[in-house]
Amino acid sequence: MITTDFEYYCAQSITEAVDLFKQLSDSGIRPLFYNGGTEIITLMRINSFYTHVNAVIDIKRIPECSVLEMDEHDYLVIGASVPLAEIEENMAFPLLSKNCSRIADHTSREKITLGGNVCGHIKYKEAILPLLLTNSTLVIADEKGLHEVFIQDIFDKEIILEPGSFIVQFKIEKEFLSMPYINKKMTKIDRIGYPLITVSAIQMKKEIRFAFSGLCETPFYSYEIDDILNNEENSIRKRINAAIKQIPEPILDDIEGSASYRKFVLSNTLEEIMMKLNGGGGNEAIS
């Protein structure tokens, strides 16, 4: 049971949501944009993290937040309120679909939204990996209206948004949608659960790009690691060992797995991904 109280507002339009946020903030209330809400509900119940929130603005009913379609400029547009289960079924961007199909469990994915997952407090934010790999465009709403920005430009350990602004949509260039890919989530033992590591990989024309979750405190995409892993002068083993040394932050060491075990799993996983993609495999999620 959630013991703190908040006011609930349901915005019907982007401007209504932005205006509401401002009004509430101005009157001293601390609002939060509310999408799938699963994290807010579960963490508030155990008095964790969201304890300061005293108003939520539900953006799920905003039409722009629920689109899932190709636009006229050949971008796949995914509204921030699209549930992961819908993305999983839709398969417009297979890497993202596969990635989403391993977040939480299916019923929970009916509620968890793409925007919610990537903006959440949860350290894994696995759905962000395909978006980082394709340097997707974020459509952000704020007081000034809508503006677009590349995800890599505002991603630093997490997506940095100004207070009062929220992500309306994600846009992915068409050329990425059909590239060979592999998404691999490794867990402690079962299929449902937090990752030991999740690796999303996409085969570009010349190189493979990799993004990681579960390995460190935050998900990441690193040019340096891509360079090392794509350096064909070295053997795959050698490249992987070198890449592991380049991991930007300390490797997680928790009840899902120790840091050294995570390294072992990462190394195996990378090897498998590279063999598969180099061998013309791909278009699949190995799980």
């Binding site: 402690k188 033992i189 079962d190």
Partner: protein, 801 residues
């Protein structure tokens, strides 16, 4: 054998013959019929009600304040602010009701007093008009603690160096006979001395040593514990609880709060899974004092999942050293064993679990020289209580890992080693109980059956593909119940005017399906269709006859016998009433298919419905009496344990079996899939095959879940950090293996129609069989649970320089 027991045997043999006759004649026979569960429709429509589904007008809500520390002195508790919170009716702390509870040692306060001994221990309770207000006010209860050194493991506790968890142990009341070593945090030391240990050593050609351990884990029943309490102006205490032991609650509330037993009324509706965890009494005491503090108002207390996992009792942990000896040709000669059970902060059932493991430490194998020391050790972990298998799964893990190691040393087939040493009638148990045809099944037959079913001859390690191998592991198992020597059960049958029956027993429907089996037993006894029997599904101590506790897979045995006796009583009375109409001696009559008829001429009969309230002559005169059947059952022949040697007859019978697990193991990643799990149980006569299979596969699933992924993680402060299903893993859909279940049917001579319970046995050998298969697969000794891939990896890493 005492005359009394012989009579029972003969009686049941007669019944068995009757059953065979019924089968041949094609009459009404429900033995071996998978009739659907009686309550099935209510469960698939969401209509079946569990404790928390009920509300009482005016009911208040109670929420616990729990300890954030594993071991600390309570310096002060300030409830002033909490009391002033909106909606709050009462805030209660341990000092308000300084009562110590416990079934073996009265070591546990209802709410912590002076100190807390585990993370999550209930410290105070807030009662308010709504759950929301109660929970909110909890954060205003201010407790000041002074940290004490935390004892993280049985080893640490056993040294007795850093701290004592119960400084005043010597002052506690001890309802059971124990041999404590208080200065080592040991609440009970059980010694089993059978044969001549030195001789055993002397005649052994080989000796293997092994150490195994498993952490505390959780029952994790889907329904969290829930209770309601109310005290009426008459002084009657009404408790409704999600419990396996309503009659024990009645006893204990009466005892600890000094209330006449007849004034304590306990009601138990459907229970949403229990697995031993709901046989303990904890929230009932808390609910009682919560109600008492509000002048007796109805209060409801339902655990959150987190509190259910860490504040209420858990599944015991264990550390065990095994030394097993044999001759060169594989005959077991001696066993030296040490168990250290992690009882956590309080004893509850742990001392008895320790005893059970010690008394049965060999598993179903004949060993002449046994030396076992079992310790029930306090730690700053949550306290443990009974868990499905009651120590047998734990002991099996220890002995069966040692057997595989011994087989390896002897270069002998592990299956042959087990078959060779399988225990049989004529042998004695470690507690020197003499085994007979009547009290033990056929272990060898089970092992031989499992050998075929798992295709043992294929080889225990077989390559499947690149990096993947298939491996098999086996385990024998046995189990007896550690019941009080006078555990009892009863059955009452009343009849409706149309001749249909109402059956009332004290067994709780926790999901095991006993009530449907009891209907089948009664239908068979009375020779009526099962639709003619109404079963009271809930239990109420004010109207249901006492059933000790719905535990230990004994409900079919105990209550089933009571039902058979009650049915005989009904028949006797019906015959008596019918004799007025049929003008004969009651002995000349028989009852069946809702008729009472002359044995010599079955056409001459009276319908049961005309003789349920005596027999009424045409002129209105009535003779005979109203029919009410009663039946009872009391355990007999059980003896208390000798404290020096462990000599005892602990339970009525030993159910035996064998199990096997097949895994596909990736030698590169150490990930594995459990592909097959097999159980062969000597389960006696099976009444409801589908129901029985479900009990066995359910227990196997739970055993595989326990062995492969379950267990609490504690941080450096002794706090549990996986208190949700998100981090506390259980087996999910499609992770189950292919199940193969088979039964060897040695009937339990004194069971109702030869039946015996199978609720727990499927779990017992699963950890051992899984560990044996994975040890083979990974070519290393995997002696610790849970068997997560990381553990296998770390073990392999240790071994490769």
């Amino acid at each position: 054998m005492k005359l009394e027991l012989k009579k029972v045997y003969n009686y049941h043999k007669k019944e068995m013959i009757k059953v065979l006759l019924i089968q041949q004649m094609g009459c009404l026979n429900l033995i071996g019929k998978s009739i659907p569960r009686r309550e099935g429709k209510n469960k698939v429509t969401g209509t079946a009600k569990y404790t928390a589904d009920y509300s009482t007008p005016g009911q208040l809500y109670a929420v616990l304040v729990t300890s954030p520390h594993a071991h600390a002195k309570i310096k002060s508790i300030d409830i002033t602010k909490a009391t002033k919170c909106a909606g709050v009716q009462a805030v209660v702390t341990g000092k308000d009701y300084p009562v110590l509870t416990g079934s073996a040692v009265e070591d546990r306060p209802v709410l912590a007093i002076e100190k807390v001994r585990y993370f999550g221990e209930p410290v105070a309770i807030v009662v308010a008009n709504s759950e929301y207000e109660a929970e909110k006010a909890c954060s205003y209860v201010q407790v000041e603690y002074e940290l004490l050194p935390v004892l993280h493991s049985v080893e640490e506790s056993f040294t007795g160096k850093n701290a004592l968890i119960h400084e005043s142990f010597h002052l506690y009341t001890k309802p059971k006979k124990l041999k404590p070593i208080p200065e080592r945090n040991v609440a009970n030391h059980v010694t089993v001395r059978k044969g001549d240990f030195h001789k055993g050593k002397h005649i052994s050609d080989v000796l293997v040593k092994t150490n195994v351990s498993l952490p505390q884990s959780d029952h994790a029943a889907m329904e969290t514990r829930s209770v309601k309490a109310e005290i009426l102006p008459t002084g009657e205490v009404h408790i409704e609880s999600s419990s396996q032991a309503p009659f024990d609650i009645q006893q204990m509330v009466s005892k600890h709060f000094n209330i006449d037993t007849n004034k304590v009324i306990v009601h138990t509706p459907f229970v949403g899974g229990a697995f031993g965890g709901k046989a303990a009494i904890q929230l009932e005491f808390i609910a009682y004092i919560a109600s008492k503090s509000t002048g007796g108002k109805p209060i409801k207390l339902t655990h959150s999942r987190e509190n259910d996992m860490i504040s209420s009792p858990v599944h015991i942990g264990m550390d065990s050293d095994v030394k097993l000896g044999a001759t060169n040709d594989g005959k077991l000669t001696m066993l030296e064993m040490t168990f250290k059970f992690d009882s956590g902060a309080y004893v509850d059932e742990s001392s008895d679990i320790t005893t059970t493991a010690a008394l049965n430490c060999t598993g179903p194998y004949k060993v002449d020289h046994v030396w076992c020391d079992a310790y029930c050790v306090y730690t700053n972990h949550p306290y443990a209580t009974s868990f499905r298998g009651y120590g047998h799964g734990e002991l099996a893990f220890a002995i069966e890992r040692a057997l595989d190691k011994l087989a390896e040393k002897l270069q002998m087939d592990p299956m042959e080693l087990r078959i060779k040493n399988a225990i049989k009638p004529g042998d004695t148990t470690p507690s020197q109980a003499k085994l007979t045809k009547g009290n033990i099944g056929n272990t060898k037959a089970c092992l031989e059956r499992i050998k075929k079913l798992i295709d043992w001859d294929e080889g225990d390690v077989v390559p499947v593909s690149n990096n993947v191998i298939r491996a098999k592991g086996i385990s024998g198992l046995w189990k007896t119940s550690m019941s009080p020597t006078d555990a009892s059960s009863g059955a009452i049958i009343t009849l409706n005017k149309d001749g249909s029956m109402n059956l009332n027993v004290g067994v709780v429907e926790i999901g095991q399906g006993t009530k449907t089996t009891l209907i089948q037993i009664l239908a068979t006894s009375m020779q009526v269709d099962e639709s003619k029997i109404h079963m009271k599904m809930d239990v109420n101590t004010e109207s249901s006859p006492e059933h000790w506790k719905t535990v230990a897979s004994t409900a079919v045995y105990m209550a089933g016998n009571a039902v058979v006796e009650a049915a005989e009583d009904v028949k006797r009375q019906l015959k008596n009433n019918a004799s007025y109409k049929l003008r004969c001696k009651p002995e000349d009559l028989e009852v069946g298919e809702s008729r009472v008829y002359l044995k010599s001429d079955p056409q001459k009969h009276v319908n049961v419905q005309s003789v349920v309230r005596g027999y009424k002559y045409n002129n209105g005169n009535t003779a005979g009496n109203m029919v009410i059947g009663r039946g009872g059952f009391v355990m007999n022949q059980l003896t208390n344990m000798d404290l020096k040697t462990g000599k005892a007859f602990p339970g009525p019978a030993w159910t035996v079996g064998a199990q096997a697990v097949e895994v596909e193991f990736n030698t590169r990643t150490f990930f594995y899939t459990i592909t097959k799990a097999v159980s062969v149980l000597d389960a006696g006569v099976i009444f409801n095959p589908k129901g029985a299979r479900g009990q066995v596969t359910g227990a196997m699933s739970m055993g595989l879940s326990w062995a492969s992924r379950e267990g609490f993680y504690f941080n450096q402060n002794g706090n549990i950090i996986n208190n949700q299903f998100r981090t506390y893993k259980t087996l999910r859909f499609d992770e189950q293996p292919e199940y193969i279940v088979d039964f060897v049917n040695t009937e339990q001579l004194d069971g109702p129609y030869g039946a015996r319970g199978v609720g727990e046995h499927g779990i017992i050998g699963m950890p051992a069989a899984l560990a044996n298969s994975l040890s083979k697969a990974a070519n290393t000794s995997l002696n610790h649970l849970p068997l997560i891939p990381e553990f296998i990896w770390s073990k392999k890493k240790e071994e490769t320089p």
